[in-house]
Amino acid sequence: MDNKLLSLAGVLALGALFHAVPAVAADEFTLGAIIPLSGASATTGEDQRRGIELAVKDVNAKGGVLGKPLKVIIEDSGGKPQTAIDAAKKLVSVDKVPLVIGEYSSGITIPLGQYLVQEGIPHINPASTSGLVRKIGATSHSMVGLDNVSTEFAARDVLGHGWKNVTILAMNNAFGQGVAEEFRKHFEAKGGKVLSTVMYTLGQPSYRRELQQIEAAKPDAYVFTAYGTEGALIMQEAFELGLQQEKPFYSILITMMNKDTPAEFKKGLIGMDVGYLGAGGESYRKDYEAAYKEGFLSAYGGYAHDAVEFAAAAINKAGSTDHAAVLKAIDELGKQGFDGATGEIKLDADRQRTSQPYLKFKVEGAKLVPYE
């Protein structure tokens, strides 16, 4: 009886051992990515997934990474920090990837990056723009310009429309706080006035209270930023309350929420977002439209695309997956510049992107149209 139990335990242990072996074939080269495939930002997450998919195709057409075909293991963050960190632990300890790309919102990218820095794993932020991203740590890099740059563009744009007194509505997380603070700084330095700032908690069933609070200041325009379906709810409630019909709304990083918002709730909405430049951007747009039969879901797919391309180039340059060698290669590539779908990518001494194209957008029907 004892023997039987013992052998049963042995079989179970063996089974567990086999399970611990990564399920990826040895002839593939794997990278990890953590993006919001579910939750309020799922639409952007899908766009990021497409960007990654196109980048993998492109890298493999050029010969793969270190002589092997590239595969990116994609994990869903669910839009929650803890889920993202759990996914990172799995990628690092089970899949043993040499580099992790992620996430989307700063509130998640920062703890995720901190975990990866602590483990010494190279991290590439493909989307988050909070100023706090700069402080994540030594192995973290950004493919996107941070909010000190983006809010200055937005402040100039809002003043350009003649709106001198505004209220700000932003989510209460690292990203929203950064946007609200930086926008106020730039806007008031240029002669505008921020009448009030309302920070909202994510995931509420209704944002009517916040909308009534921003209305109380009687501004010329409402400046706001919101993720995906929450942006859609805010726009719908602003419409239902009649706010939209009275004063203009201006969306900072408008592609985050445009796709999820029905046309009837965003008439006349304008805003800004990160943009695409150069020949790389044009060919990415063509590949994307050929593969998915529609335009970009957000502005962030291209940055996820570039994160994969950049990582693949850096690892090829390093010639190995050794963390120190990869980090050194990223530094060199960042100094020398890398041409991606989002224009030339150069990194500063803090490993953040130095310059960044932005575009002004306006809503026409359901679509977002760039304008000058």
Binding site: S38, A42, G78, S196, Y200, T201, S206, Q212, A217, G242
Partner: protein, 297 residues
């Protein structure tokens, strides 16, 4: 000022249905069922699913309400009746566990995304400077009608008299020939239905995500305790007080104090009102606003 009262009234209607349901069940079986707030979420999600499956709005809402009532009875028979044989505090912990399980089931089935009912877009209404939506008025009306029907049932029917008899003295009620188990399960059924309607009215005016139940827990409990647990109809008054307090917190312009023209506390501070009132009442008036037979919550 009118905006203030309409905001408070709408919020009170959110809380009142579920708080009354909680209090009514408590009056019979002497434990506050934490899972009731999750029944509201089940009701909202079911209605949304049924509607996207092709049912009309009214049919989806009605079917979902009945289903949640049945579910509440099922849980009562399968779980709470047994736990109550041990002790009411065990049943309370059991309901907390059930609430967590339901929340995990929502996460599995619906994920963290927020959902909405498909509703026609209606133009906003302005009444004396108050911004209202047509759906807000509909849901307010629905809540009032449901509460009125429940009050009529409780005060004017034989079943209501039996319910009150069981609540006051269950053994005595049983001795006079009232089937206490049947009465209890009818009330549990009604409480499930009221919670579901509460959830559906919330869904009619906003979006529903898996956090809805957790967000409702505190204000609903505060409202029920304020009214005096077990004193079903006075939970309505409790809900109004909590709603007024929450609205004071979110609608008061603190700008002059902060040296700015306009400055509000973040709306996420609203639960502070429920907490503060709850603590004050537990300390100084644990029987609630009105005297009831409950001496302790």
């Amino acid at each position: 000022m009118f905006q203030f009262f309409s905001d408070a009234l709408l919020r009170a209607a959110d809380l009142a249905l579920i708080a009354v349901a909680l209090s009514a069940v408590y009056s019979l079986i002497r434990f506050p069922n934490v899972a009731l707030v999750q029944y509201a979420v089940v009701g909202a999600f079911l209605a949304i699913s049924l509607q996207s499956a092709g049912l009309g709005l009214v049919a989806a809402a009605a079917l979902s309400t009945l289903a949640v009532g049945a579910l509440a009875v099922l849980f009562n028979l399968a779980i709470f009746e047994r736990l109550l044989k041990v002790e009411s505090s065990i049943a309370l912990i059991g309901s907390l566990a059930l609430s967590m399980i339901l929340s995990a089931v929502f996460l599995l089935v619906y994920g963290p995304t927020a959902y909405r009912l498909q509703l026609p877009v209606l133009a906003p209404i302005r009444l004396m400077g108050v911004r209202l939506t047509t759906w807000q008025l509909w849901t307010l009306g629905l809540s009032v009608v449901v509460l009125a029907l429940f009050a009529l049932l409780l005060l004017r029917t034989r079943l209501g008299a039996e319910m009150r008899a069981v609540a006051t003295n269950a053994p005595l009620a049983a001795a006079t020939g009232i089937e206490t188990r049947r009465v209890t399960n009818i009330v549990v059924f009604l409480s499930g239905m009221m919670a579901a309607i509460g959830g559906i009215t919330l869904a009619l005016r906003g979006s529903v995500s898996i956090d809805m139940g957790t967000n409702l827990l505190l204000p609903v409990f505060a409202a029920a305790i304020l009214g005096g647990l077990g004193n079903a109809l006075s939970a309505i008054v409790g809900a109004i007080v909590i709603a007024l307090a929450e609205t004071v917190i979110t609608n008061t312009n603190l700008g002059p104090l902060m040296g700015e023209a306009v400055w509000f506390l973040p709306a996420s501070y609203a639960p502070v009102a429920s907490f503060a009132i709850l603590v004050l009442f537990l300390l100084f008036r644990p029987r609630g606003l009105f005297v009831s037979e409950v001496t302790r919550v």
